[in-house]
């Protein structure tokens, strides 16, 4: 057996080991290479940047834990952006597991140990402010602070349940739910997941159907995201943005070109680009998980390219391109 054949017959466990090392080592020795945001991501960022407290967005956690490494940072980044600008956010999930993903994202954002956390104010906790008839964002915060509540030093701000966020969660046959929400959100979700009436929420009073919504960002690991185009964008003209896994991103450039989506975050890179923009504009103090994860992707991509080149060198140098069959088992 020649050296080239030995090389081609390399036990795949060595490759697994190399990939394992490539995935672990960058966490201990971060590269921190700069990431240049692409036009597709800037478009989403700028769109949200131009929204105000009078607008509202939907964020769909339309993925399962399998793709959370890529999709979760996208959802977290968009939520951070919306919370920082006090844009009301309705959170939904296309699949049953997505609701838990959304909860995990919120837990990350409201984690007090983080540098960039938001203080979550439960619906019941600010009932007295609502009873005074105060429903505008600035008024609520003013009354909340006047009531003696203070913001911790490392906290970015408050998130008022029912004014800044409504966790609607999962419903089966979600494409029908999108269709139904085009008439009334409350017809599909009479309450949020905590059982709080949507009709009583100030954010619902201003945005009763998808027609009153300014953007739907779907973070997805499957073709679920297309439902937002088919039933949201095409039926009622709802602006839609995608946050999809890297392997799926290639499928959805067609929607960018046709103008059916305003932008797209593709894979971990897309999430890292959004995080870079948040960091640039001071919405976060430190880079997010996607930015850190890009170091792993740097090394893993280089390793795979190296392996492909190595495989081709062995293949041609060994003259296997002229033989019909290699001796070894592959």
């Amino acid at each position: 057996m020649s050296i080239w054949e030995k090389m081609l017959d390399l036990d795949r466990r060595w490759i697994f080991l190399l990939i394992g090392i490539a995935c672990v080592v960058p966490f201990f020795t971060p590269l921190g290479l700069p990431i240049l945001p692409s036009q597709e991501v800037i478009a989403i960022y700028d769109y949200i940047e131009n929204l105000t407290t009078d607008n509202a967005i939907f964020v769909g956690f339309d993925f399962d834990p399998g793709t959370a490494a890529e999709n979760m940072p996208m959802g977290v980044a968009v939520l951070r952006h919306a919370f920082a600008r006090h844009i009301p956010v309705f959170i939904t999930a296309y699949g049953p597991l997505g609701q838990g993903m959304a909860a995990m994202a919120l837990e990350e954002i409201t984690n007090e140990d983080s540098d960039d956390y938001y203080v979550y104010v439960n619906w019941e906790d600010w009932a007295s402010i609502r009873e005074q008839g105060i429903t505008d964002r600035a008024g609520i915060e003013e009354a909340w602070v006047a009531a003696g509540n203070t913001l911790a030093e490392n906290a970015h701000g408050w998130v008022f349940e029912g004014r800044d966020i409504a966790m609607l969660g999962y419903l089966p046959y979600f494409h029908l739910v999108i269709l139904g929400m085009s008439s009334s959100i409350a017809s599909q979700f009479p309450t949020d997941i905590g059982g709080n009436s949507l009709e009583e929420m100030p954010m619902y009073q201003d945005h009763k159907s998808l027609r009153d919504i300014d953007l739907a960002v779907t973070t997805s690991g499957s073709s679920a995201c297309v439902a937002w185009i088919t039933y949201g964008r095409e039926k009622i003209g709802l602006p839609v943005a995608f946050g999809v896994t890297a392997v799926m991103a290639t499928d959805y450039y067609i929607y960018m070109q046709s103008g059916q989506i305003i932008g797209q975050m593709g894979g971990l890179r897309g999430a890292a680009e959004y995080e870079t923009l948040l960091l640039r504009d001071g919405y976060t103090k430190s880079p997010g998980k996607a930015f850190v994860g890009m170091d792993v992707q740097n090394i893993a991509h280089l390793l795979i390219i190296f392996l492909v080149i190595l495989g081709n060198i062995a293949f041609f140098a060994g003259g296997f391109n002229k033989k019909t069959k290699l001796k070894g088992r592959r």
């Binding site: 834990p65 017809s187 190595l310 081709n312």
Partner: protein, 222 residues
């Protein structure tokens, strides 16, 4: 009867909602609203069928001690155990589901515990394995055996390098060319495939609505 009734429902429903989409009248909207409210309720009955069928299949396997019958417990116990804890068991005994978004919301009951500590790690692990298999497959299968395979190989390398910051360090043109490949040649090919699939879906749906394609009946009435 077994064939005619389902065929008639599909034909009437299909034509009705094709037309409904283009009629903005109030009656049309009301009909549509009824549909969106009823469809999930009707669909929920499929859950009963699915759970029933799954339970029967796995309980038979256990009874007959069929091959790998032990794994059937891994299906049946969570199938009934998780809803039991989520919906029936009182909260002080580990029951209930995440209801509030404030506080320690994900670690309260068995339902959330199982999600966080079993389902999430299992799925994440399964998907993570892809990286290892992709690397191994790329090493063994990605060969420049022909002109087309060579084009594919170079495109893949450029796109891979263009997707990571280190690619830009190696050459400023990597991200630009990578994006160009994604935005133009990739887009053209995807659009062509998408249109082909779209027309195929349209043709199949028309065939189903008009009863030409009947495989979905599963041989009922034959």
């Amino acid at each position: 009867m077994k064939r005619t009734v389902p065929l008639a429902i599909v034909m009437v429903g299909g034509i009705l909602f094709m037309i409904q989409y283009f009629i903005p009248h109030q009656y049309s909207q009301t009909l549509f609203n009824y549909y969106t409210e009823w469809a999930p309720i009707v669909g929920a009955f499929a859950l009963v069928l699915g759970v029933g069928s799954l339970t029967r299949l796995h309980s038979h396997k256990i009874k007959r001690k069929a091959k790998n019958w032990q794994y059937s417990y891994a299906v049946l116990i969570p199938l009934f155990g998780i809803p039991f804890f989520a919906l029936i068991m009182p909260q002080n005994l580990g029951g209930g589901m995440m209801e509030s978004m404030g506080g320690d919301r994900l670690t309260q009951g068995v339902f959330d515990f199982a999600y966080m500590n079993i389902q999430v790690p299992i799925q994440a692990t399964m998907f993570s394995l892809l990286a290892f298999y992709i690397a191994s497959a790329a090493f063994r299968a990605f060969r420049a055996k022909s002109a087309l395979a060579t084009v594919l190989l170079f495109s893949a390398i450029i796109v891979m390098l263009g997707q990571v910051p280190i690619g830009e360090l190696l050459g400023k043109w990597f991200p630009k060319v990578g994006l160009w490949i994604l935005r133009y040649p990739n887009l053209g090919a995807k659009r062509a495939i998408g249109l082909g699939v779209g027309f195929g879906v349209l043709a199949t749906q028309l065939k189903i609505i008009f009863g030409v394609e009947r495989n979905w009946l599963g041989g009922a009435g034959e």
